[in-house]
């Protein structure tokens, strides 16, 4: 069965009709085919082209000359040649006077001019003669000329569109018709359709089968193999198709995933800490004096409920207190004020993930390690296009006995390089818990220098109470700004835009340097 089908050529119903006409009825002219099939030429041409691609038909184009009957000729075909009309009058009535003949013509609805033309031709044919204004009829010639004229008119009525040289008409008549401008020659393109040898063979063997046109495959068609006898309707690829949106990650969360990957690839372990924090971890451990402006209501969200937490590690509290008050054993003068443990227990929403860094230092202690956190912080900012009360910070620490400030610059530079921002410059800066401190600027091709990489080495007053003897490099990057650059977002509120349509409209971010 397989092979039997393989030998067959599948065509559509219309295509089969065309083949029949070309092979059996020997119709080769496109015009003729169109007429016979009663379809328009361009539709026919598409099908013929399809058959040509199946190697069943051949299309040839040639130029040919043909006769076209002129306006005057067509009039004569209908009403007869002028000489015929004159002959008819003469046969009826014996008229020798020309004027009388004109009058008689008028009565028959023939113009004088036409009568004159008729007489001219009759004279040429030897039926009449004019002598001294009198018409002399050669009666013997009349019948022969009448017959001859009928032939000429017949030719005229059939010759329109005939190919010159293939019309099979006496040269004499053609010549007369041309001279009388009743026909003229024209040129035209001709499409000739012929069947190939393959077509003849397959047709003879009955190996051309008619298939049906289908718009979709069905399990039935696939299973039975009948799809081979079917034509699957082609699709117009320029037609708009319905839109679908994939289930996908949030663009900003996706960006943060990539930041995680970069930091992990640099040897950083992720750390986490509570969003609801004691002032102790958020400020006191970081050696921010209790009257520091950042600890006021303009810069920190304080909790109404719950209000105060506890710290089980009383020794740590004591060390922090001493450090604030007189520097303890850190070699510092301290802030020289009375440290209030109650203030340290006040609950807030953390303002910086640096709290997570110091919690981590307390737990891991003096070891070689790198840690990062990528989480949210809160500050009492009114939400607008450039400010948000909630923001992500990318916080990192590098801990080791022999680290130095240049290593911090090295990490900042490497991190921004991995973000695809190769140009970096560093300037002195002030942060309360680091010394020396630095602000790293990265160069963005369209935005210029962006303040992006703040960092420093944790102060001895931060480290000593935590029992850290190693040096600690620390940085805390406002990752929202960088995300906005990568995601092409101008309004910071759009990082948390809840409209699904908006989220779908954002292309999936890929940090360029990750695929370079």
């Amino acid at each position: 069965m397989e092979s039997a089908i393989e030998n067959k050529i599948v065509v559509s119903k219309d295509e089969y009709k065309i083949l029949e006409l070309v092979i059996r009825d020997k119709v080769h002219d496109l015009e003729e085919l169109a007429k016979r099939l009663n379809i328009d030429k361009s539709a026919l041409m598409r099908r013929i082209a399809e058959l040509e691609s199946k190697k069943l038909l051949r299309i040839d184009r040639e130029e040919e000359e043909y006769f076209e009957v002129t306006e005057e000729g067509r009039r004569y075909v209908k009403g007869g040649l002028p000489e015929e009309k004159v002959l008819r009058i003469i046969k009826e009535k014996d008229i020798s006077d020309l004027k009388e003949l004109y009058e008689e013509g008028k009565r028959h609805g023939i113009s004088t001019n036409e009568v004159k033309i008729g007489i001219m031709h009759l004279a040429r044919l030897g039926v009449v003669k004019i002598e001294k204004g009198k018409l002399i009829v050669n009666k013997e010639r009349v019948e022969a000329v009448v017959e001859d004229r009928i032939r000429v008119r017949n030719v005229l009525s059939l010759i329109d569109g005939m190919v010159i040289g293939k019309e099979g008409v006496e040269e004499r008549i053609i010549k007369e018709l041309r001279q009388r401008r009743l026909i003229r020659s024209r040129k035209r393109k001709k499409i000739i359709i012929t069947a190939t040898r393959l077509a003849h063979e397959k047709m003879q063997k009955g190996e051309i089968v008619v298939a049906r046109l289908i718009t979709r495959l069905t399990p039935e068609l696939i299973r039975t193999g009948k799809w081979r006898e079917a034509i699957i309707k082609p699709y117009d690829l320029s037609v708009e198709v319905p839109k679908v949106s994939p289930g996908r990650k949030h663009p900003y969360m996706e960006f943060l995933d990539q930041i995680r990957e970069i930091l992990v690839s640099m040897g950083f372990e992720e750390m986490k800490g509570p969003h609801i924090e004691l002032e102790f971890w958020n400020f006191d451990v970081l050696f921010q004096a209790q009257d520091h402006p950042a600890r006021e209501i303009h810069d920190t969200f304080f909790l109404k409920r719950p209000r105060y937490g506890t710290i089980k590690d009383k020794e740590l509290m004591e060390r922090v207190k001493r450090t604030h008050e007189d520097g303890w054993i850190t070699g510092s003068k301290g802030w020289q004020y009375k440290w209030d443990p109650r203030k340290a227990l006040r609950l807030i929403l953390r303002t910086q993930t640096t709290s997570v860094s110091v919690r981590t230092l307390k737990v891991i202690g003096n070891r070689n390690y790198k840690a990062f956190s990528l989480d949210r912080n809160f500050r009492p900012e009114a939400l607008d296009a450039t400010h948000s009360m909630e923001f992500y910070q990318c916080e990192g620490i590098v801990v080791g006995p022999k680290l130095n400030f240049r290593h911090l610059l090295g990490f900042l530079k490497e991190f921004s390089r991995r973000l695809g921002l190769e140009k970096v410059k560093f300037k002195p800066a002030y942060f309360p818990f680091t010394e020396p401190s630095v602000e790293g600027y990265v160069y963005h091709p369209s935005l210029g220098w962006i303040e992006a990489l703040p960092g420093g080495m944790f102060r001895p007053e931060v480290l000593a109470p935590l029992g850290i003897k190693y040096r600690v490099l620390a940085w805390g990057i406002g990752i929202d700004r960088l995300a906005m650059v990568v995601l092409g977002i101008d309004d910071i509120r759009d990082l948390f835009n809840l409209n699904v349509e908006f989220l779908r409209s954002k292309a999936r971010p890929i940090i360029p340097s990750m695929i370079r």
């Binding site: 509570p274 969003h275 909790l303 089980k312």
Partner: protein, 561 residues
């Protein structure tokens, strides 16, 4: 951080040579400042909070003289004792005062502007808008010492405040003078107001509100008297140090005179401009900066920062710190000064050798990522909402009582953000409402943190990582949610079943507890039509929310971890 405006001409005069704009910007940058631009003839820069000595042109010029190597080491001040006494009364709510006198200053219009600016910048920063301390400047030649600092019943106070043409009562000043309106609240709770008066009974000022017009500093002023009053003795004395050392830069002989402050039981001489001493090891500097500087180089860099430095032998340096450098608490602060003088642009970034560590993501993030990927595979769009939200959205809109476990902010900035979210589903509903124009079905999820009060914790709060998802379409039923949740849990290799439960946010009889491996992890249900009405959602919604913290623990146990 404060923005300072200076005149280049004035700066050049104080520095003692002409400067290009590029030079000025470079020096400002080296001093942690940031050049902001020019506003007409004024150059604007942002100073850092730790360097109040750079809040005016005088201090900036002093530092630039060091960096430009015009003058190295400690700035010299000619400090003497004056015979001026200040007698302190019982100003119980603003008990501290420190004063000083600077003689033979040469002022012009810009110099006066700089003094006012310095005073204002110190007021808004260190003095906490005059709450903790306030500064007064006077033309000393209009004052007859001794001066008394005392409390006076408010109704007895009359003087001519700055910028007014005649005397007024304290009440009038507090209610009508711009400064009275701005700062009156600081003393509003007291019947008596602080006052500085001289021996003739002339009012110098009413701290922390305003000075008298008669004692005002003008371009003609030759000798300036300064007072700082406040609630914190150390702060009061520190602010005075900044002010007098800055003004002294305008005095040819740098003449500063100490004033005797007579408290009830003791006498203090202010300002105390004694030099602080700190030892510094060259190796400490090099270890911290990753440099290989010689002791001589370190000393030179210290001198450029206007610090005194002497070689004490070996690699030990004795550093002398001028009184106005109140930011130096520890030798590490000297290290930063050295780095600044050395130039941050010359510090070569380096990657530490022998600091091999293995990175990894936090387990909760790894697990969250796995769950998020499955959810995306199931056709859900991830959304992200703020952790801060409104109590009404979390409870009333969800047909829940305003229960007491919600973490609430005392100083919210907007009604929309007053609590930390307790669950995620309300924000999913908000998202569905906001996305109503994009056609259905809407399938969304969020992985995020929630919190509620738990007295057992040190921070009194329990935080949890959650997954919540919602499906909204005209034909949604509970089954659609069950299908997806089943698929999620099955894909994690765990088993799930459901038990009927009542929850006011969901339709009764179409809500279930989610039990994974027999343990409760969350809830699923068809959202109650009243809730849908509250959110103006017009299609049925099925939603579920489960704890990823709990699910991770179950997962670990199941995998034998």
């Amino acid at each position: 951080m404060p923005l300072i405006s200076i005149k280049v001409e004035d700066l050049e005069k104080l520095v003692g040579r002409s400067l290009t704009l590029e030079e000025i910007i470079e020096y400002i940058t080296m001093l942690k400042g940031e050049y902001e631009g020019m506003e007409e003839e004024y150059l604007i820069y942002e100073a850092t909070h730790d360097r109040p000595d750079l809040f005016s042109c005088e201090g900036l010029a002093r530092s630039i003289r060091g960096l430009a190597e015009i003058e190295l080491g400690l700035p010299r001040f000619n400090v003497n004792e004056s015979k001026v006494d200040v007698i302190v009364g019982n100003v119980y709510y603003r008990p501290y005062i420190a004063c000083g006198l600077i003689r033979n200053v040469r002022l012009d219009e810009e110099a006066v502007r700089q003094l006012m600016q310095l005073q204002e910048k110190l007021h808004t920063t260190y003095c906490r808008n005059r709450r903790k301390a306030s500064i007064g400047l006077y033309d000393y030649d209009t004052i007859e010492p001794p001066i008394r600092y005392l409390l006076m019943p408010i109704e007895k106070v009359r003087f001519r405040p700055l910028e007014w043409s005649k005397e007024a009562s304290a009440k009038e000043i507090l209610t009508k003078h711009p400064k009275g309106i701005e700062y009156g609240h600081i003393i509003a709770n007291y019947e008596e107001v602080p006052l500085l008066v001289d021996s003739t009974g002339q009012v110098l000022s009413m701290p922390p509100i305003i000075n008298s017009e008669e004692t005002k500093v003008t371009e003609e002023t030759k000798n300036i008297f300064v007072d700082v009053t406040g609630v914190d003795r150390r702060l009061v004395e520190n602010v005075l140090k900044i002010i007098v050392t800055s003004i002294a830069e305008r005095s040819e002989g740098k003449e500063i005179y100490k004033v005797s402050i007579h408290y009830d039981k003791d006498v203090v001489l202010t300002p105390d401009l004694s030099i602080e001493r700190m030892d510094l090891n060259t190796s400490y500097v090099n270890d911290n900066l990753g440099l290989n500087l010689s002791t001589e180089e370190v000393i030179h860099l210290l001198l450029k920062m206007r610090l005194g430095a002497t070689h004490k032998g070996e690699d030990l340096i004795g550093v002398m710190i001028p009184a106005y450098r109140i930011d130096i608490l520890h030798p590490i602060d000297l290290v930063e000064d050295i780095a600044m003088a050395y130039g941050y642009d010359k510090l070569e970034p380096a990657i530490p050798e022998e600091h091999y560590t293995i990175g990894r993501e936090h387990p909760l993030e790894v697990f969250s990522k796995a769950v998020r990927e499955i959810m995306c595979g199931l056709g859900f769009q991830e959304i992200a909402s703020y952790m801060l939200t409104s109590k009404i959205l979390q409870t009333v809109y969800m047909r829940l009582p305003e229960e007491g476990k919600m973490v609430e902010i005392e100083n919210p900035i907007s009604d929309r953000f007053t609590v930390v979210r307790r669950w995620l589903i309300p924000d999913l509903l908000m998202s569905i409402y906001q996305s109503r124009g994009s056609g259905y079905p809407i399938m969304i999820f969020e992985v995020g943190d929630v919190a509620w009060i738990d007295e057992k914790e040190e921070n009194r709060v329990k935080e949890d990582r959650r997954l919540a998802a919602a499906i909204a379409s005209t034909e949604t039923t509970l089954v659609d949610g069950l299908v997806k949740l089943n698929a999620l849990i099955r894909t994690l290799g765990l088993s799930v079943r459901y038990e009927p439960v009542k929850h006011r946010s969901f339709i009764e009889g179409r809500c279930g507890k989610v039990l994974v491996e027999g343990r409760e992890v969350g809830i699923i249900g068809e959202v109650h039509p009243e809730v849908l009405n509250n959110f103006k959602i017009e299609v049925p919604v099925v939603a579920f929310e489960i704890s990823l913290g709990a699910l991770l623990n179950i997962y670990r146990e199941k995998m034998g971890m």
